[in-house]
């Protein structure tokens, strides 16, 4: 298979799945399995791509054959391919979970739009053009909007309105930033931008533009203080939707931050990355405090998304090979664990009839397997060694100490403690106690597809924990590629 096709498949496969779902309206039983199969194929593509780029190589294809900077390239390096692979994995698990979770009335739209969302994320990961990145953010925003509104319950619509309004504002700022950057450099190609921005000799002016990107991506990544839309909207739609959002959406924005603030905005790091470090610390702290204050599973987990984004931004802000490795590692770990926690929360609510902690209970006795599966992502998220979250935190803490940024290291560890507390809150208020209604313990069988989805994600978390060595080697190359993007730039401009 040629590289060109391999690079296009992460977009083509899910789009084809979406079209197929639309065209086979009469065969609703086909849609769920089709999406699961599509995501499995996508994972295979991701693995094939990773085999090509894991040594630091960069693959490029020019869509329509128009060379950079005139056409739009798709660029695959270790970072983007890793994100594609992890996306396929979690999306596959969510589709598996959704086989038994989506009400029939909403099934068609859910199954048609979910692959579009995946395609948009892949587009964002692979594109080498800043405006095109904006386009895929728009596709992502629109498809997530549709998924979020699906069902149309009143609280859902209220959440969706907040989601839409804040994200549209951030998109506008993103677009304004793209325009200003084009005005400064005369190009939209990210590799060429990387080459031209230093030649401008106006780092402070570029930083003004960078602020637009910080605010735009920061809003979409839900960092402090721009996060309020997330806890307001994520808890409202069905779990199969929220779990996918929780795993993916904010992380696409984190990817965009990682890419642009290593490739383009690196000539005034005292200001840009200094600001990011502050943002990182405050995001961790406010997020986890928000989580601690919640008594509802989905809201608690939603605030946690915010908190954990702080760790990823911390890695970016420290801008060393170790720190970036930590940021990428943490992102992957978080996508796997967070998606899984939402899925488990969904099963708990299905069995226990509520998302409220105080109305749940009895799982420890009645559902030992589910309780055990909960512990895997929960402890990983809390950074209990030797699970994946611990390695991520260790990388970041070491990077922070090496940079002599003691405050952020202290904050990250204290936040880890509060994370543990909030995971314990779910465990000791919803899993351990006797069922709220002793006559109705949550004893029903868990649908096999859902158990499989949760099991696969838990196994992935365990695999990431056990394979920390090879993963760190590959991601370490990705981090080095981010810090010294010569290979990226040359692959795009000299191909």
């Amino acid at each position: 298979m040629t590289d060109d096709l391999l690079l296009a498949l992460p977009l083509l496969l899910p789009l084809a799945a979406a079209v197929t779902v639309m065209l086979t309206r009469g065969l609703p039983r086909l849609h769920g399995p089709l999406n699961v199969a599509c995501m499995a194929a996508l994972a295979a593509v991701g693995a094939a791509l990773l085999a090509r780029v894991h040594d630091g190589a960069v693959l490029v294809t020019f869509l329509g054959g128009w060379r950079a900077p005139f056409g739009i390239p798709l660029v695959a390096d270790a970072l983007s391919v890793t994100m594609v692979l992890v996306t396929a994995l979690v999306a596959g698990c969510v589709c598996l979970y959704a086989l038994v979770d989506v009400p029939p009335r909403q099934a068609l739209v859910y199954h048609a739009v979910t692959p579009v969302l995946v395609a948009s994320a892949n587009g964002a990961f692979l594109t080498g053009d800043l405006f095109n990145l904006y386009v895929w953010f728009e596709v992502m925003l629109m498809s997530s909007f549709v998924l979020m509104a699906l069902g149309g319950e009143a609280p859902q619509v209220r959440g969706t309105v907040k989601y839409m309004a804040t994200n549209l504002v951030s998109s506008t700022l993103f677009l304004a930033g793209v325009g200003l950057l084009y005005g400064l450099t005369g190009t939209l190609n990210m590799a060429e931008l990387a080459a031209r921005v230093p030649a401008l000799g106006q780092p402070a002016l570029v930083s003004v533009v960078a602020v637009l990107f910080v605010v735009a991506f920061g809003t979409k990544a839900a960092v402090f203080p721009l996060f309020s839309w997330l806890p307001a909207s994520y808890p409202t739609p069905p779990v199969a939707t929220t779990a996918l959002f929780a795993g993916l959406l904010t992380k696409v924005a984190v990817y965009a931050l990682l890419r642009t603030f290593t490739l383009i905005f690196v000539h005034d790091v005292g200001f840009t990355h200094g600001a990011l470090l502050w943002i990182a610390g405050l995001t961790m702290v406010t997020g986890v405090l928000g989580a601690v204050a919640q008594d509802e599973v989905r809201r608690l987990l939603s605030f946690h998304i915010v908190s954990q984004i702080g760790y990823m931004v911390m890695g970016l802000a420290l801008l060393s090979p170790l720190a970036l490795l930590g940021a990428i590692f943490f992102t992957i770990h978080n996508i796997l664990a967070k998606t899984n926690l939402f899925l488990i929360g969904g099963v708990m609510a299905r069995l226990g009839g509520s998302f409220e902690l105080k109305r749940l209970g009895g799982f420890y006795r009645a559902q030992p397997l589910l309780a055990g599966l909960f512990l895997v992502p929960a402890l990983a998220l809390a950074g209990v060694p030797p699970l994946s979250g611990f390695w991520g935190k260790l990388l970041l803490a070491r990077a922070g100490l090496e940079a002599a940024e003691y405050a952020i290291v202290a904050a990250s560890l204290a936040v880890g403690l509060l994370t543990l507390y909030s995971m314990m809150k779910i465990w000791s208020q919803a899993v351990l106690p006797a069922a709220a209604d002793p006559a109705r313990p949550p004893a029903g069988p868990v649908p096999r597809a859902q158990l499989a989805a949760i099991g696969v994600l838990a196994a992935s978390t365990l695999a990431l924990s056990a394979l920390a060595w090879p993963v760190c080697v590959v991601l370490g190359r990705a981090a080095e590629g981010l810090l010294a993007p010569t290979a990226y730039i040359e692959a795009v401009l000299r191909a």
């Binding site: 329509g64 637009l212 307001a232 390695w391």
Partner: protein, 783 residues
């Protein structure tokens, strides 16, 4: 590899335990089988000892982390404690919880704990050590909460985990600092002189913080008495013999690298002395057997810390003897307390008396263990205490010697009193009093052999080693050598002759017995109450307050940011833009704005129109007027496009604007006005400021960018190549559908998905009954 197998065996057994407990036979044999495994592992360690094996496997080389295990004297000592006491407790646990439906999980956690503990004591890599350190905390959490439907068990488990994990975080930072300073994580390769060059004090304080939380040093100890909510086997194993010793173990492990400085001696000596004294005397306020034992465990841990602080050959020898002696007698006493509870239905010393009659075997075991506990001659407790006195007497400096001797003496006296309280008071025959209810119950429920056999074994080993302490010489020499970092030839003796230490021992024993005789008065005496208020209730309250304070802060903060009002969220986003953008603009040297060319009159008209319309859109509370004003802004933008050479764009803008106005009017005409449409007061000021600020920042940025020269390479290339390469005369079209068709693909998808979304929403609206649009946010919502 053998060491890896020793550690792994426990984890494998842990995974198998729940499976084995699914059948009745499995449940019955789980305890003995697990006990046999523990003994086997202990035996394996003994057999391996001669070879002193070590193994290093790469774990995460990019981080310098290795799975390094190494068997040395200290590791062997604690490994034998973990497996030996473990074997007794596992057998005991099988009998104690024989009818518990969650027996399988209980043994799973217990075996996992044993494996983690073995990993900890064998670790030669700091991260390996940390991983097992944390796993023991986790196992402790799961075990304390074993009776998971009891609220206090869950709260105690949570407190233990939070406190020990907070200590774990300190250890993590410390090990990273060590790695940064020494360039290695291997414990056996750490050089004290290198560490003292670096941030020695920070490392020391962080390591000590970790050890003090884990080993319950005052005032961080309240989690340990609270952890008595755990089933008794857990208390006997984790909270007396094994897990709580992990803290002092880490100190002992690092003492060759960190020890011997004045800071080390002061920190450990002071904390240890206070803890040793406070724990022993706080125990005398309690009436629950397990809580009495828990506080004396705190005291013993303090004594061990103190001995490490004193250091040197004597300190190390005393540490070894005392650690082993304590593990043996304390686990035995806990198991006895559990057996008493099983038989008599209570552990309250006030309700227990005359138990020697119905429970003679238990009385004998308890007496034997308490003999060592009280530090009476011919017991390992005596050997350890004598050595402790020796170490204190030999420490340099008169003042120091005085303080240490007083501390050891007070602690020993308190422990002797507690020993009587535990072993004499409940068991002593009292023919003068009518038989208590508990005694009658105990007569009807004689404990099974599984409940008194294991503690008997522990107590017996303690006595045998007390009589023949020289049996321990090889182990003690090796272990003390690992602590001091230099070879030690230890010689333990049952009888030291008439030494000052013996005199001190006698004094403390007499004081202890005297205290016991007067216990009914001592218990509620003012000094003990004051001690409890300062060192017990105050820290416990501080923990509660810290937790409640964090929760209150969390609630306040969440309400502040999560107002549920979209207007606030947007104001925050734009406000952030204003602040960050403003800061960035201030940093631009000589902000270069383009020269103001005179605008033609026609453009001035458009500008004025734009501004007026924008203001009008904000002003009136009439929705229709807002729509009209907004549309004027749109049409004025079209005029701008028109006058700057983009007629096609202007055309599109006019079409879109018209369509939007029509839609707006159609839709909004039917909606009621929301109740709180307009902000007032400060909020209004904030909104105006944010709006103006955002406009100013974006405009200034744009002007600054426009001032820079523009490279139109792309535009020229497209114009030049549209016909030849893309075969189209309309350059814009060639860009849209050819050069950058990928963008268009995305936009087409946006349109398709958007129409799907509209259909979805419409279906929802048509289905649902009409309801107020701006209804109140439901109670408790954060939306």
């Amino acid at each position: 590899m053998a060491l890896v197998l020793v550690v792994a065996a426990g984890f494998v057994a842990a995974a198998l335990a729940p499976w084995a407990a699914r059948h009745e036979t499995g449940r019955r044999w789980l305890g003995p089988a697990a006990g046999a495994l523990a003994l086997l592992l202990g035996l394996a360690l003994l057999l391996l000892a001669r070879a002193a094996p070590e193994i290093t496997l790469p774990w995460v080389p990019p981080l310098g982390v290795e799975l390094a295990l190494r068997l040395d004297g200290l590791g062997l000592l604690f490994g034998l404690i973990v497996t030996g006491v473990g074997a007794a407790v596992l057998v005991y646990g099988g009998a104690y919880l024989h009818d518990d439906p969650l027996l399988g999980r209980f043994f799973g956690y217990l075996l996992a704990f044993m494996a983690a503990m073995l990993g900890l004591v064998l670790a030669d890599d700091l991260v390996t050590l940390f991983v097992f350190f944390e796993l023991t905390s986790l196992a402790s959490y799961l075990l304390i909460a074993h009776e998971h439907e009891r609220r206090e068990a869950r709260a105690a488990a949570q407190q233990a985990l939070l406190i020990t994990t907070a200590g774990g975080m300190c250890l993590l930072v410390a090990l990273l600092l060590v790695q940064q300073t020494a360039g290695t994580l291997r414990i056996s390769e750490l050089r004290p002189e290198v560490l003292r060059e670096g941030p020695y004090l920070a490392i020391l304080v962080l390591v000590a913080a970790a050890a003090f939380t884990k080993s319950a040093q005052a005032p961080l100890h309240p989690w340990l008495p609270a952890a008595m909510a755990a089933p008794t086997p857990v208390s006997a194993y984790l909270h007396s013999a094994a897990m709580v010793k992990a803290g002092v173990f880490v100190l002992a492990r690092l003492s060759p690298a960190l020890g011997g400085t004045p800071a080390w001696t002061a920190l450990l000596g002071a904390a240890g002395a206070v803890t040793a004294v406070a724990g022993a005397w706080l125990a005398l306020r309690e009436t629950d057997l397990k809580r009495v034992l828990a506080y004396t465990t705190v005291s013993a841990l303090g004594l061990l810390t103190l001995l490490l602080g004193v250091g040197g050959r004597w300190g190390a020898e005393a540490f070894v003897a005392y650690a082993l002696g304590h593990a043996l007698y304390k686990s035995a006493l806990f198991m006895v307390a559990g057996a008493v509870d099983h038989a008599a239905g209570t552990r309250d010393v006030l309700a227990l008396r005359g138990l020697a009659g119905p429970l003679p075997a238990l009385a004998l075991v308890c007496g034997a263990a308490a003999w060592s506990f009280a530090g009476l001659p011919l017991s390992l407790g005596f050997v350890g205490k004598e050595l402790a006195y020796e170490a204190a007497l030999l420490a340099g400096g008169d003042l120091l010697v005085g303080a240490l001797v007083v501390a050891v003496g007070l602690a020993s006296a308190g422990m002797a009193a507690a020993a009587c309280l535990v072993a004499v008071r409940p068991f002593r025959p009292r023919p003068d009093l009518p038989a208590a209810e508990a005694t009658q119950r105990a007569a009807a429920h004689p404990p099974a052999p599984g409940l008194w056999g294991p503690p008997a074994a522990c107590a017996a080993v303690g006595l045998v080693l007390g009589v023949l302490p020289w049996l321990l010489d090889p182990l003690a020499s090796w272990a003390a050598g690992s602590i001091t970092g230099a070879p030690v030839a230890a010689h333990l003796e049952a009888w030291h002759g008439l030494t000052p230490a013996l005199g001190l021992s006698t004094v403390s024993a007499v004081v202890g017995v005297g205290t016991y005789v007067a216990w009914d008065h001592v218990r509620a005496s003012a000094p003990l109450r004051a001690l409890g208020a300062v060192l017990d209730q105050a820290p416990a309250r501080a923990y509660d307050l810290a937790l409640a304070g964090t929760l209150r802060l969390a609630g306040w903060q969440t309400r502040t940011f999560q107002t549920g009002n979209l207007r606030d969220y947007l104001a925050v986003i734009l406000g952030t833009l204003v602040v960050l953008g403003g800061l960035a603009l201030l940093r631009v040297p000589a902000l270069d704005l383009p020269a103001r060319e005179a605008l033609p009159a026609r453009d001035w008209l458009v500008v004025v129109l734009l501004v007026l319309a924008a203001l009008a859109a904000c002003a009136p509370p009439v929705r229709f007027a807002t729509i009209v004003a907004l549309s004027i802004v749109g049409y004025a933008a079209a005029l701008v496009y028109q006058s700057y050479g983009a007629p096609d764009l202007a055309l599109v803008q006019v079409l879109v604007e018209t369509l939007v106005v029509i839609l707006f009017v159609l839709v909004l005409a039917d909606l009621p006005l929301p109740a709180r449409a307009r902000p007032r007061g400060l909020r209004a000021v904030r909104d105006v400021a944010v709006a103006l600020g955002a406009g100013a920042v974006v405009t200034t940025s744009m002007l600054a960018v426009l001032a820079a020269p523009f490279d139109d390479k792309l535009g020229r290339w497209y114009a030049h190549n549209a016909v030849e390469l893309a075969h189209g005369r309309n350059v814009v079209n060639t860009i849209l559908v050819d050069f950058r068709a990928f963008d268009t693909l995305g936009e087409v998808i946006v349109v398709v998905v958007a129409s799907v979304g509209v259909a979805v929403l419409l279906r929802g609206v048509l289905r649902a009954a009409p309801e107020p649009v701006a209804g109140p946010v439901p109670q408790g919502g954060v939306a």
